[in-house]
Symmetry: C5
Subunit: 363 residues, 5 copies
């Protein structure tokens, strides 16, 4: 059935990648599909006066950044090279359990603090309009005193605006530290959710219009699929709310006091996204009612045609049947105006029925 | 389809205006549609003895008010002139993040305190009865020691009563400070919600009456739309409740102790609005059941007519068919009273069926 | 449509009376309909040894009670005389905002403490069995050190038992103070809710019986209306629970320590009422399912009659049609026993169908 | 209708017995039906070494137990003799409000502490399998330093195991104090709920099997009734959970530290009962869906028979009708093989329709 | 009916094994079915340098492990030998109430601390794909200073990976204490839940595909059963979440500070499982809507065929009936082209109806 190759199964969104059972915790194993040929490392090193970009480098080239006083944002695209990640982790003193979470691409968003670093796992979401499916990409951020390490599943992200601001020195970003960079990155992720909601909103409007004019089970299945996507969005964004709240209320020494007002703003945005998701979910539930009523309406319409046709012609056929009987003694058959009188009777019958149905507003 | 041009899409209420991605926070960009040609500034400056109104003025004319000991209410209608707002913000020391929220007309209601000022964002709602749609206009209030700055999207608001009381010196308002003015303004906004609820209540009653007498999918769609509006109301008013609670419990030095009893009253009103919205939502959900039952009832009615007609005439036609057969040896055909006897049989049949249906209460 | 004049619109229960917009808070304006021609003042003044009743008095006659050491219960029936109320308020030092709440008969129940008085707003509910509608009457109680002031919308209340106990000196009531009187009054109100629930319970049972034997959309509308009443009850009683909890946990100096155990009892009763309301609501929701199933059942029944009639007679009519054809060469027509054989065939056919439907348990 | 005499009305479970209005609190009035002819007093007096049972005694015979150092369990079956209860209460220093709750058999479960005693009200539930109805009996326990006073509505309870253990000196029970006895009694009550759940579980399984094979509105009504019973169970057991939690966390001096571990166990059991009730409720809700689908399925089946019959025979009858026309010039009528050809045509038609319906999987 | 022998009754999952009533708490009685012929004891004794396995041993052989400084994991498969368990409990100083919980295989998961030991009850779940039923096996873990005692209902568990790691000395496990072993065991249990979810996810996808193409009440019953299983999973895993939270936040001296980070990880996994269960439940609820819509669609399809057939042939049959009448004076019968004209009229009629239905998109 073509229908099923086209659309995304609802459950596929919720299933975590297969887990390894009984392995020691902290074992670095990449869970998820490999989305890039080889991992690509790059960094941006900046301070108020300095701005340096380096792409597709070796791990060794990053190491000096660790101790430098400038802020460095090191990004890795592609997670399947476990050894590289292991080396990376050791070079930057990352906890093995944290690295395990980075590799498990089905991990829900979370914020966790370690002694002198913090791990933030969030999800970038993409809406593939053609197939109306949502794709999620996990992005993990480590914040240390002067560095931000980001791990993505594949190249391409929602951070081009941030890179541009870093380059152009626009706004506060070059004057502020690594904590502000982390805030900016998470803010970009949350901002991108508004786009997805915009597109899902369009889809709901379109489904609503179609459900009323052309109800079909395929449409209902699409509503079902969209409800699944909204559940997925809520499931993804809900822990982000808690994450941002944890950032906000945590007395982490990694976040400067002055960043707090921005985190509060970020929190507002997360709430706004969640509220919209909830409103969309309630609207989508209403669509099922609309569908059911459209179908009932169509059934009624079909029934009306059948009833009208049958109710008009069944008595007429009966009258014709009467005078088709072969009794020897049927005086009417011999009347001169018998035939036209029967026609008259039939017309009367038919018009009477039509008038009755008209009064009932059946057509 | 005319239906869709007439009514407000449900999702349109929930969608935030398109957000800029990756821009530095605090960038002043007007998000929303431009609803007025050019922004209009006006102020009311008052103390117990003084009352001065000035409309359509320049920013420079407002500046002396900043330091004056009288209470000043400066209002700006129209938000799209970002430069003017920027100048305004600098003149009155408003935080750039706060101004960004003012410009984002899709921002949910909130209350935020800064060092010596507070920002209150609320929504004025208008119910367009002709198109039965809800329009929201964002109104942002800054409270400083002696001034209230209000920003509206367009001219026209629910504050005419307040202006009248200021002018006429009726009640306490002229004796009290800027905090009382802010309370009065927010109270006027909450009061105006009762009007919307009144109108939605009328609409529910009307829909209920129509659903029972004339069920149609268009009516259900209107119920669906109204449920969307109620979700929107709840989404809008719920943060106002928290906002007022924050005003009430916050130990803001900007609010005098004596204003607290009024805030408590305001809080009561907000709760009352929310309760009514919830009750309306549950009632609207019941309307869907009513609709479904009306449709089922109509289907039953149609079925009954069909069943009665078919059940009465099908056997009669069969009898007529019998005596229309051309067998050479059908003694009945030659009986003298054969024809009237058949008529008698048919009448018996028909009356029997009618009696049966009568007993079944089918008509 | 007669139906609508008979029953109470669901939304009418939730709507607050029209609110005045932009008026200064504390303005005394009566919100609600005038239910009595002129307000009637009366009081009961008592101590352990004294008992004095005075009906239809002037305000001036009440004033001495303010300072007396006996407990006085002053009651006013009828709220529309704003001037009298204003005078009353001034005489007894009542806060204007509190008086405003007394006049707003759509105010939800609340408990509020002032410096040396407390305001309790509750609702007396009456169930008009004939029209099966619920009427609410607001009753406001002011508790001061030695006085209880009660304001009702119209004469007639649920306090006759209390008056009787005061007169007869039965129970503790004459030995205890004004706080115990307030408790007794609120307890009488809560007790009266059990009567309403009893009547609604009867109505649910009756509706359930009717829904199964005679499903009709009117019945469903009555269920809808009853659900609305239960929502209204919950909305009314829920804040009473909080109110009583506030009484109980508040360290109000107006309530003696020894009254606490009675308040705890009152709290239990409120919970019991709320629980029953919730259970009734769930039961009423089940009634909708019952209705839908009754209607489906009826549709099935009609369908079965139609199917049986049509399925039996359509083949028979076909057979009769066959032998009504005018072919010159139809050997059967000339057979001696052709006619009875066809009758036999038809009987066989009919009995076969009947047997088939019997096996299917269709009749 | 016989149906209604057989089954328990849903609301009857939730209704409280009629309340007395306006009576002074603490008035001892028996609320509920009298279930025993005259109250029967009995006691078990025990210590590690002593065991004494006495049945059907006078109040005076109990009085010495009050001061004795042994643990005494005094039980009263039958609550309607208010005077006896009053005397009892005075003899054992029970609070009048507590006694009022004991007499109000519709009181929800609660735990209340007084100065040197505690009141526990719980419900014993019985499942009458024949009528599949739940009967509740209120049991009130007073715990004082060395005594447990229990009040039941009628003889017969779930405590025979406890009495046996007391007699046989099995387990810890004879070494421990009155608090342990109270725990044991409440534990027996909670244990007995598992039996009810077992039976309701059987009933659900049975209903599920019947709903699929033989859907009827009576079955749905039974589901409705069972949902009512589950709501009642939850309503009854939910406060017991809080009650046990209060016992557990309360620092009541009446409960020995060493009893705590048993209370924790009791709490676990209560949670387990509540969880099962919730699961059953969700399952019962699913049964309504199953029913609706069974009914729809049956409608479809009936429709299919009708459609097949009508669709096959209507065209055939039409063909027969054609050749029953009396036109003078109908060449087919004179063909030699006209008649068999028509039969062939009809067969073709019929087989074609059958093949079409077969392909549609309609039979 | 074969259907019922194949599938697992929904309620069977929720029912606790029959409880003994009135027995003293702490009585050791095995509740549940006996799943193994005789209990089998085995142990693994290890330290960083030592590794010793011993299977099918006597209780006496375990006793020396109690005092040894190495970590010992003693496992018992089979719970029905109460005497052995009693001896075991006495040898290792386990609380009788704890042992009672171990024996009650219907006990919900819990974590309980005693003076110098802790009890953890969890559930291993197996998904029998052939019968698509879930089987639960209770596993109880006692943690003492240096020992872990585990009790299973039958041989076979999800711990083979752990045993392998112990043997191979892979990871941290051999360097760490008994608390880490307990964590590892519980982690293995939680990991295994992901497999079950994976399989249920497959089942949902399959059901969804079948529901749309071939709706049948049996499928709906399977959805019903699966919803039951999801309720069961939630009921089982929810207390595990609390259990792990209690482990995490409890300041148990049995758990080393360094194990905390692993517990946090375990907590994340539990949350992830619960979230997925919730998402699956919402998806399963959507399947019921899909089913209902598929059935309505099929009804409509059948109705359309009936309506088309009847509406086309009923008027045609009427026309044929007209000219089958035996009036003496029917001029049309004598017309030369009467017969072909009637055929033309009929074709016109039929084509007109077909065109009408085509326009209505009925086929």
């Amino acid at each position: 059935m073509k229908l099923f190759t086209q659309i995304q199964t609802v459950t596929s969104l919720f299933r975590s990648p297969p887990k390894k059972i009984g392995l020691p915790p902290g074992s670095l194993i990449h869970v998820g599909e490999q989305k890039v040929e080889r991992p690509i490392l790059s960094y941006i090193d900046y301070s108020e006066d300095k701005y340096e970009v380096n792409k597709d480098i070796l791990l060794a080239e990053c190491l000096p950044l660790r101790e430098s006083s400038t802020v460095s944002w090191i990004n890795m695209d592609g997670l399947h090279d476990v050894e590289l990640l292991d080396a990376f982790g050791k070079a930057f003193d990352l906890h093995p359990l944290a690295l395990e979470d980075v590799l498990n691409t089905g991990h829900p968003p979370k914020f966790e603090e370690f002694d002198d670093s913090a791990l933030i796992i969030t999800k970038m979401l993409y809406f593939d309009e053609e197939q109306s499916r949502i794709d999620a990409e996990q992005i993990s951020l480590f914040l240390t005193r002067n560095n931000v390490l980001s791990f993505q599943e594949r190249p391409g992200d929602v951070f081009d605006g941030v890179r541009e601001r870093l380059r152009r020195k626009s706004g506060r970003i070059r004057q502020r530290g690594a904590d502000y960079l982390v805030y900016t990155l998470v803010d970009s992720v949350v901002d991108s959710y508004f786009h997805i909601l915009e597109k899902i909103g369009d889809r709901i409007d379109q489904l609503e219009a179609e459900l009323i004019t052309q109800p079909s089970p395929e449409l209902l299945q699409q509503v079902h699929q969209m409800k699944g996507q909204l559940i997925f969005l809520r499931k993804t964004i809900w822990p982000m709310r808690e994450q941002v709240a944890a950032l906000l209320h945590g007395e982490s020494s990694l976040f400067a006091e002055s960043t707090n007002i921005f985190l509060r703003d970020l929190y507002d945005h997360t709430i706004q996204v969640l509220d919209t998701v909830e409103s969309f979910r309630e609207t989508a539930s209403g669509l099922v009612d609309l569908y059911m009523s459209s179908v009932s309406q169509k059934t009624n319409e079909i029934m009306q045609v059948l009833t009208i046709m049958a109710s008009i012609f069944i008595p007429l056929t009966f009258i014709a049947g009467i005078y088709g009987m072969n009794f020897e003694l049927m005086p009417e058959l011999k009347w001169r105006y018998g035939y036209p009188m029967v026609w008259g009777l039939m017309l009367l019958c038919g018009v009477g029925m039509l008038w009755y149905f008209k009064r009932k507003k059946w057509f």
